[in-house]
C-alpha cells in the first residue's frame, strides 16, 4: 500500500472517530480510564527523565561555558530556554510516542486480532469512536500538563546539578532562569504539545486498528506506529517552529 493510500485511510478513520459518542456515560467512563492509562501512568517516566536531562543540560552548558567573559547566569538561562522550547514539548512527546504509542497500537491491535472489535461492530457500536476518541481527548487534555511538569522538573534538575557539582552557583542559576522570561514560549510549547498529543493518540490507533494477522503483526504494527509517530512529530515540530517563532 502506498503512503498516499495510508494518509487517505487515516483521514477517513478520523471522520469516523469524530462522531457523537453513542452513550455519554460510557464515554465518560472510558475517558477516565484512558486518562489513567495514557496520562497518570506516564508521570513517573516523564518526571524521572526530565529531572535528569535538565541536570545534564545544565552540566553540559556549564562545562562548555568556561570563558570568564560569559556570565555564569547564562547557564540557567540556556537551560531554561532549551527545556521550555524544545526538550519538554518535543523530546517528551517522542518519549510518549514510544511509551504510549506502542501501548495504544498493541491494545487496539490485540482487540482487532482477537475479534473484540468485530464484537463491537456486531453490536452496532462505532468502534473507532468508542476506542479512539477517548484516547485523543485524554492525550489532548493531559499531555500539556505533563509537559509543564517536565519543564518545571527539568529546571529543578539543573538547579540540583549545580548544587551537587559546584560547577555554578545557585544564585546565578536562579537569576538566569528568571532572566528575560517570555510567557509566549510557554504558550508555544503548549500549542506544540497539543498537536503532538493528537499525533501520539491517532497514528498508533490507526496502526492498531487496521492490523491484520496475529501477535507478530501486532508487534510489527507497534514498532511502525512508534517510528511513524516520531517522524510525524519531528516534521511537525519543524513546521510549527517556523510558524510560531519564525
Amino acid at each position: 500500500m502506498n503512503y498516499l493510500e495510508h494518509i487517505g485511510k487515516y483521514f477517513i478513520m478520523l471522520k469516523q472517530v469524530f462522531k457523537k459518542p453513542q452513550r455519554w456515560s460510557v464515554f465518560r467512563e472510558t475517558l477516565f480510564r484512558e486518562i489513567e492509562d495514557l496520562g497518570l501512568k506516564s508521570i513517573g517516566i516523564i518526571a524521572f527523565i526530565s529531572f535528569f536531562v535538565g541536570g545534564v543540560v545544565a552540566i553540559q552548558t556549564a562545562l562548555n561555558v568556561d570563558s570568564p567573559f560569559i556570565p555564569k547566569y547564562l547557564i540557567g538561562f540556556a537551560t531554561k530556554r532549551g527545556l521550555i522550547l524544545e526538550f519538554a514539548p518535543t523530546f517528551m512527546s517522542i518519549i510518549l510516542a514510544g511509551k504510549v504509542g506502542s501501548f495504544i497500537t498493541s491494545s487496539i491491535g490485540t482487540m482487532r486480532v482477537t475479534e473484540q472489535i468485530d464484537a463491537l461492530e456486531v453490536m452496532g457500536i462505532n468502534s473507532l469512536n468508542y476506542l479512539v476518541l477517548p484516547k485523543i481527548i485524554a492525550a489532548l487534555t493531559f499531555y500539556p500538563l505533563l509537559v509543564l511538569l517536565a519543564m518545571f522538573l527539568g529546571i529543578l534538575g539543573g538547579y540540583y546539578a549545580g548544587l551537587l557539582t559546584d560547577l555554578f552557583f545557585s544564585e546565578d542559576y536562579i537569576y538566569g532562569i528568571q532572566l528575560e522570561f517570555n510567557p509566549y514560549f510557554i504558550k508555544y510549547a503548549v500549542i506544540k504539545t497539543i498537536v503532538f498529543a493528537f499525533v501520539i493518540a491517532t497514528v498508533p490507533a490507526y496502526h492498531g486498528y487496521y492490523v491484520k494477522g496475529g501477535s507478530l503483526e501486532v508487534g510489527r504494527a507497534s514498532t511502525q506506529a512508534v517510528v511513524w509517530s516520531s517522524i510525524v512529530i519531528i516534521l511537525l515540530n519543524y513546521f510549527l517552529t517556523q510558524m510560531l517563532l519564525g
Binding site: 475479534e115 473484540q116 468485530d118 456486531v122 453490536m123 452496532g124
Partner: protein, 255 residues
C-alpha cells in the same frame, strides 16, 4: 426467518461465496459445515454485517440487511447476538462489565436493573458468582459461556456462533452445545452455528448446510445427513472411522 438469496462475496477478484441461497427458521439450530476455506466464516460474517456482499440479498424477517438505513441497521444489530470463536471478551473488563456492556450502550436501565439482568444470564449459563473475574482468569469453556451470556443479555432474535466448541474438551463441548440448543428454544431465536465439530452437528443440527468451494453443496437435518448419498458430504462428515461405523450402524438399524 432469515432468507439468503444468491449471496456472492469476493476478495481481490477471488470469489469466496458463489451464489449461496438458503433460509434459517425460528427456534431452530442451523449449522454451517464445510472444509477450511469453503467460505463458512465469510458467509457468517456476511450474515452479521461484518462483510458487505458483492451481490445477493439477506433478509431478516422481511428486512433487507443491505438496503437498511443506518438507524434501522443499528436497530437490527441490537437484535443480533454473536458468539465469536475465541469468545472476544473485552480483556480489560470483568465478566460482569462484559455482559453489562450492551445494556449500558443501548438501554436506559438503572445500574440495579442491569446487574439483575447480568446475574440472570450468568445463572442461565451456569456461571453464578463469577461477576468480578477477568476473562484471563476463566477457562476456555467458561469464557465461551460468558460470551453466550453477553450474546443473549439483550434478548436477541438472532444468535450467531462461530466455532463455539473450538478448543474445548468433548465434555465441555457437549455442555456448550446443549446450552445453545436450550437457549435457542427458550428465547425462540434463529441460531446459526458455524462448526467443524461433527459431534455437535449430529447432536444439535436441526438444519445443516454444507458449503463446498463457496457453493451450497447440500442441506438437510441431522437425521438426513446419515442417509445422504452426496459424495462430498459423505467424504467430509464420515472421514473418520468412528463416524463411518456410527453411520453404518444407523443405516442398518433403520433397515
Amino acid at each position: 426467518m432469515i432468507e439468503v438469496q444468491n449471496l456472492i462475496k469476493s476478495f481481490n477478484g477471488a470469489e469466496v461465496l458463489k451464489g449461496v441461497t438458503t433460509t434459517f427458521e425460528k427456534g431452530k439450530t442451523n449449522m454451517i459445515i464445510g472444509q477450511s476455506g469453503s467460505g463458512k466464516t465469510v458467509f457468517l460474517k456476511c450474515l452479521i454485517g461484518l462483510h458487505v456482499p458483492n451481490s445477493g440479498v439477506i433478509c431478516f424477517d422481511g428486512r433487507k440487511h443491505t438496503e437498511l438505513d443506518i438507524k434501522s441497521r443499528r436497530q437490527l444489530r441490537k437484535e443480533i447476538g454473536m458468539v465469536f470463536q475465541g469468545g472476544a471478551l473485552y480483556d480489560s473488563l470483568t465478566v460482569e462489565e462484559n455482559i453489562m456492556f450492551p445494556l449500558k450502550m443501548f438501554t436506559r436501565s438503572t445500574p440495579l436493573e442491569m446487574l439483575k439482568r447480568v446475574n440472570e444470564v450468568l445463572e442461565r449459563v451456569n456461571l453464578p458468582n463469577s461477576n468480578k473475574k477477568f476473562p484471563a482468569e476463566l477457562s476456555g469453556g467458561m469464557q465461551k459461556r460468558v460470551a453466550i451470556a453477553r450474546a443473549i443479555v439483550m434478548n436477541p432474535k438472532y444468535l450467531f456462533c462461530d466455532e463455539p466448541n473450538s478448543g474445548l474438551d468433548p465434555q465441555t463441548a457437549i455442555v456448550i452445545d446443549n446450552l445453545i440448543q436450550e437457549i435457542t428454544k427458550e428465547y425462540d431465536m434463529i441460531t446459526v452455528i458455524n462448526s467443524h465439530d461433527m459431534n455437535s452437528v449430529m447432536e444439535i443440527g436441526e438444519k445443516i448446510i454444507f458449503l463446498k468451494d463457496g457453493v451450497k453443496a447440500w442441506e438437510g437435518s441431522n437425521k438426513e445427513i446419515f442417509k445422504t448419498e452426496n459424495e462430498a458430504v459423505v467424504n467430509f462428515v464420515y472421514s473418520s472411522n468412528l463416524f463411518k461405523k456410527v453411520r453404518e450402524a444407523y443405516l442398518s438399524e433403520i433397515k
